[in-house]
Symmetry: C2
Subunit: 216 residues, 2 copies
DNA sequence: ACCTGAACACCGTTCAAGT
DNA sequence: ACCTGAACACCGTTCAAGT
């Protein structure tokens, strides 16, 4: 898929044009499922196959989009205190991923990260060590937080879907509150807290709790 | 989708037969993507549409399968010490989910849990409180661990796919090791640990670390 | 060199008809 | 009552052909 520019026919499409159109689709569509090769082609007024001249396949398209989305995210101002800095970095990353919800689908599909995301990793490791962790602890801590963050995004979307297509109380809560009360007193006692947690961005409190526990 | 049994034609199919065939497909297929209505029908020697008499749609099919899979998992022997018990419960749950890899797809799709999974929740909350947490802390801790567990399963599968279709060093590592060494010294320093972590079941060490940090 | 149409091998699901 | 075939509205992608 080389971009050769030699006589023949003037190129109507370009890789950039394809990517921009894809971004437009994603902006209105929401999740990555709404971006299909065929939809994109029709948006561009061409045949599906013309896209394959500018992009190897759908996987590559998504990877390129991930990269572009990430580059556009403005880097945040960071606090001096290393503990606060570490928390701030994770909240920043979480918010960036949340703003581009479709990214989760790319991550799920096996593309684990964008090349330009390395600086956040580096800064997180640096802050962890400055806060008193050994390098190995920092590496483990990073993995734990990243895993937690991905999990949070996943649960969040699952909940959003659940709420979307069902007016009735969501399935998860039905299970919790519908359980045999004698057998599960704690579940029953904590049901209100579960309900409340669904309305809140729990990441904002959970991530600090998590990090507090990991730091010495 | 009521199972009425009145004269007419003898039923060749039953809900149970459908579910059993689906389980057979999943046992050999791996992830939930391999279970399609059409595939299942051909395995049963019928038309795709005949399944819809026994199951509302594919979502309901997956939910029923999730329930059945969970019921079959044998309950583990649990240690007396509450801290150890809490860890054991999570390792148990993680392993059960790992053994039925396709379950992740159901969870991703928005079905957040099976009704019969409540007893594990209850036991976890109980162990958390016995280990010194307040009920509210126990609820938050449960959420954090569950989110982490889901994230772990997701990352695990993403890595498996990455390794499967590419002999070359996986994309994630390429990114980490290929980064500008001057800009990211810590990343570079910790690269070996990343490589090593990919070969290990990191959940076995990460989850205890996580819980240790959450407990008072 | 660049674009296209037809086709392949799939999906889940609806609808009207067959036995 | 139970099952089916044809059809609808989709996918990503290959292949041979058109300009």
């Amino acid at each position: 898929v080389r971009e050769s520019r030699t006589p023949g026919r003037p190129a109507r499409l370009s890789r950039d044009a394809v990517l921009e159109a894809a971004e437009a689709v994603l902006r209105q569509g929401g999740d990555a499922g709404s971006l299909t090769i065929r939809r994109l082609a029709s948006e561009l007024g061409t045949s599906p196959m013309s896209l394959y001249r500018h992009v190897r396949d759908k996987d590559e398209l998504l990877m390129l989009l991930l990269e572009r989305a990430w580059v556009r995210v403005p880097k945040p101002k960071l606090p001096r205190d290393p503990r606060k800095r570490l928390v701030a970095l994770w909240l920043f990353l979480h918010e960036a991923l949340l703003a581009n919800a479709w990214v989760l689908d790319v991550l799920i599909g096996g593309k684990l990260m964008a090349p330009s995301a390395v600086w956040v990793m580096e800064k997180m490791l640096e802050a962890s060590i400055a806060a008193g962790m050994t390098p190995d602890e920092a590496a483990d801590g990073y993995r734990i937080c990243w895993t937690f963050t991905i999990g949070d995004l996943l649960m969040r979307r699952a909940r959003a879907r659940d709420a979307e297509l069902a007016q009735q109380p969501p399935q998860q809560l039905q299970v919790v509150t519908g359980a045999d009360p004698g057998a599960t007193p704690l579940l029953r006692q904590l049901a209100p807290r579960w309900v409340e947690a669904r309305r809140r961005n729990t990441y904002l409190t959970d991530l600090p709790t998590l990090i507090e526990g990991l730091l010495p």
